[in-house]
């Protein structure tokens, strides 16, 4: 028995040896009772398993399975497809301008975020708040609320992250904001395509506002990335990134009401 490789016996039983090799091995094993018993055991078990009919779901079980899985994935709520959402996305510019003007007027609540969606296949997205939009600046001044985000953003479009909110609000005019938004299209196009570091990819400790709505609209339970509102009044922005470096789907809400604001694509 010891002279037989058990892998070869198993292969012989499974019929996976070349015919000539199988014939030689079979003949040799026939002269060895213990090896023959081993081969017989392998074949018996294999045939028993292979001959057993494969279990199948009944019609009721199948229907219930699909219903339960779809329900768990929120596919049973007839959510509006993401592609359809993109067709009814709102024009953000008037909204942003009005918001900026209002913010400047009250000069109180820091900041709101804004979302810009590109016209072509590529999205233009900013999750940064419009903190600095000095009228003398033609490139637009965008700054994230803190740390790394500010560095990333300042690297993209030469922003001035150190500009304070009070300064920006005090000096912001609608034309300046409009210029900033226009420039943002170009700046954030690069932003969306590359720096995943801008976006948090870990689940936050704090409750995520509008998570249920995001799940329904994204048709996904577990958004890979998101940007929490950095300050009161900011937009909540959600996105999915398949490779961690590009934005594939995104929805934005007003976190106070969870009203849908925009989506990409």
């Amino acid at each position: 028995m010891a002279k037989y490789d058990l892998d070869r016996i198993a292969a012989l039983a499974a019929g996976s040896l070349p015919p000539e090799e199988a014939a030689v091995l079979e003949a040799a094993i026939a002269a060895d009772p213990r090896a023959a018993a081993e081969l017989a055991a392998q074949r018996l078990a294999l045939q028993a398993v292979r001959r057993a009919p494969a279990p199948v779901l009944s019609a009721d079980e199948r229907a219930e399975l699909r219903r339960a899985v779809a329900a768990a994935l929120h596919l049973d709520r007839s959510p509006q497809p993401v592609t359809a959402i993109s067709r009814r996305r709102m024009n953000w510019r008037p909204l942003a301008l009005a918001g900026a003007a209002l913010a400047a007027l009250v000069a109180a609540v820091p900041l709101f975020g804004l979302l810009s969606v590109g016209e072509g296949d590529r999205a233009a997205l900013t999750t940064a708040a419009l903190e600095a939009s000095a009228p003398s600046t033609t490139t637009g001044d965008y700054a994230a609320a803190e740390g790394d985000d500010a560095e990333i953003l300042s690297g993209v479009a030469g922003q001035t992250p150190e500009a304070t909110l009070a300064e920006s609000l005090a000096t912001t005019t609608v034309p300046a904001t409009a210029r900033a938004l226009t420039d943002a299209d170009k700046a954030v196009a690069d932003l969306v395509a590359a720096p995943a570091a801008l976006f948090s990819t870990a689940a936050p400790a704090a409750p995520i506002p509008c998570l249920a709505e995001a799940r329904i609209l994204l048709r996904h339970d577990d958004p890979l990335g998101f940007d929490l509102p950095r300050e009161a009044g900011a937009l909540a922005v959600w996105f999915l990134s398949e490779d961690g470096a590009t934005v594939s789907r995104l929805v934005a809400f007003d976190p106070s009401s969870c009203d849908f604001l925009a989506a990409y694509p």
């Binding site: 892998d7 392998q42 279990p55 497809p81």
Partner: protein
Amino acid sequence: MTARGDADTELIARYLRGDADAFDQLMRAHEDRVFAVCLRLLRDREAALDATQETFITVFRKVDRFAGHSAFSTWLYRVAVNTCYDQARRAGRRAADPLPEGMDQPDEAAGRALEAAELRPDLEAALAQLSTEFRSAVVLCDAEGLSLQTAAEILGVPVGTVKSRVFRGRRLLAEALGNLRPVPDHLSDEHHG
């Protein structure tokens, strides 16, 4: 990649774009085989249905992280096997808990589940005698017809380990089927292990 693998990749992409039909097609393509694996591993129809459901929910929730390094079906099987292991562990813990007073009645549901099981009773009983490791290797390779390499990926063990488990699992299965004198275990240990 196989035609099935290509089709799965395309369906996953469509699903991620919000195509509900892609979900149906992925379910249709894989639900019976996942259920078969779960039933053969757990040997209880209700438990297998639960595990099948949990498997698909897990997979669809994480499908956007599927990198495509292996076939979608391999990943799916892996989730299914792990889900079955977890469920078996949970069931084991539950079985160890004492029943509340007055609850030790005959389990009619268990009898119905056994009647409903579609495995042949002798094979069912024989499979039940295998350890989880041997049973999963035999089910994946011999029942599902997967290659040793694929089974190794699914089980997360080296190919040699799968070979050994399949070989010894078949022998134990044959012995359990009662049609063969036991082969001394040390014979195979001369080659495996």
